[in-house]
Point group: C2
Chain length 248, copies 2
């Protein structure tokens, strides 16, 4: 699919103009960053899964340090867009934990944390997905590839945005035809038990806070300090996570 076909195709699937714009921007940005598994191939997948009309969820608990959003089957992309917009419009004075219950899929998590960091907020986001990773020693598939994204703003240049899936490949790679289901193992080779432990821990963390359906948890905070400019000086040109298009 070509970039210019994304918006018309999404409108044709029944999404509103506002929804289609959010989705198209996400998929196009994923392509630009080389994360094709989260890119345009997802439009046909959305069509097959009949996601249209499921909305963006709603805010059901709203405290200074805690929010709970209930998707009731919402499209994760649209609910996370609404959540990010809400944080930027009404940021926490210090820090806030935001639970996104019953929404799927959440897409390229760095897309969301980057929005928050570009608005001056520190953000950590993780999300669950279907169980595809078994323990490296064997047994049933217990954990999703459950990515973790961390974005930290900078007063001098772009934020640093880490966005790491715990799989050797992502399910998006499988959708995009670049990997097979058999490649879906925890990353790390001999140390794959570490990525498995992270994937399972993140999954139980989200499950414990969100409930039994797929969901996400975001921590958003005001920065107390500004560590990125100093790190970039020490790094003296080394590419940092989230810098420019990447194959990661």
């Amino acid at each position: 699919m070509r970039t210019e076909d994304a918006l018309p195709k999404l409108l044709g699937l029944g999404f509103s103009e506002a929804e289609a714009a959010i989705l198209a921007d996400h998929f196009i940005e994923a392509e630009r960053r080389g994360k094709r598994g989260h890119g345009l191939a997802r439009i046909d997948w959305l069509a097959d899964e009949r996601f249209e009309g499921r909305g963006a969820g709603r805010l059901v608990v709203d405290e200074e340090g805690y929010q709970r959003w209930d998707g009731e089957g919402a499209i994760g992309y649209l609910m996370l867009a609404a959540i990010c917009r809400a944080q930027i419009e009404s940021p926490p004075a210090t820090a806030r934990v935001v639970v996104a219950a019953d929404c799927f899929p959440s897409g390229m998590l760095g897309y969301w944390t980057r929005q928050l960091a570009e608005a001056g907020l520190v953000a950590v986001l993780t999300a669950t997905s279907p169980p595809r990773l078994a323990h490296p020693d064997g047994g049933p598939r217990l954990a999703g590839t459950n990515p973790l994204s961390i974005a930290v703003p900078s007063t001098d240049g772009p934020p640093v945005v880490a966005d790491v899936s715990m799989g050797e490949v992502t399910y998006g790679d499988v959708i995009a035809g670049r990997a097979t289901e058999e490649d879906l193992v925890p990353f790390g080779g001999k140390k794959a038990y570490k990525a498995f432990a992270l994937a399972l821990g993140l999954q139980l963390f989200v499950d414990a806070l969100a409930g039994e359906d797929y969901g996400a948890v975001l921590v958003v905070a005001q920065p107390y300090a500004d560590p990125v400019p100093g790190l970039r000086r020490v790094a003296s040109g080394v590419r940092l996570p989230g810098d420019g298009p990447t194959k990661a």
Copy 2:
């Protein structure tokens, strides 16, 4: 050093009885779990670093959803013990972000998150340490081995406790003589850029919230659901993170 020598040795270093008891329990538990790098070898290291008398820090901002503790050079072990005790005595109604500024070292993070999970709370904890990991493609050492621990309680049996360092080995392994400084690379082999991104992201997250000295950030929350019993049923005997003594 033998287990029974830990307490007298710590008392001999000038720690109070309460402090020595906290430290000895931490080191002995690390040995029991096979995490010798966080174990009894740390007592001689504490003596060399002249940590005695630095105290446990104090709570300087206390909101329902946010706490900031300032260590002013405190011993991380003692400050994290105080922080965990405070969360268990006054847990959040929903969720709380706790920043531990200017304290070092934080030890075996799973030791702290397990305490919280055994008290029925969900806990995520990360901490910074001296920069020892370079980008896999080369350049200066930019990130500590910065572990991430996630603990989730269960209504039916022990919690699941993930505790993963981003290094192929830990600095504790170097202190214990089981690895060399050259072994201190991000874990993951060909995918080591993922562990590097996590280490750097976690470090900037802590630095942005805590300030320029070493610190830690804890997220502690009430569980909304109870996912561990169901996961253990599906796992049907597969060892889950934090189950029994481990070499991880």
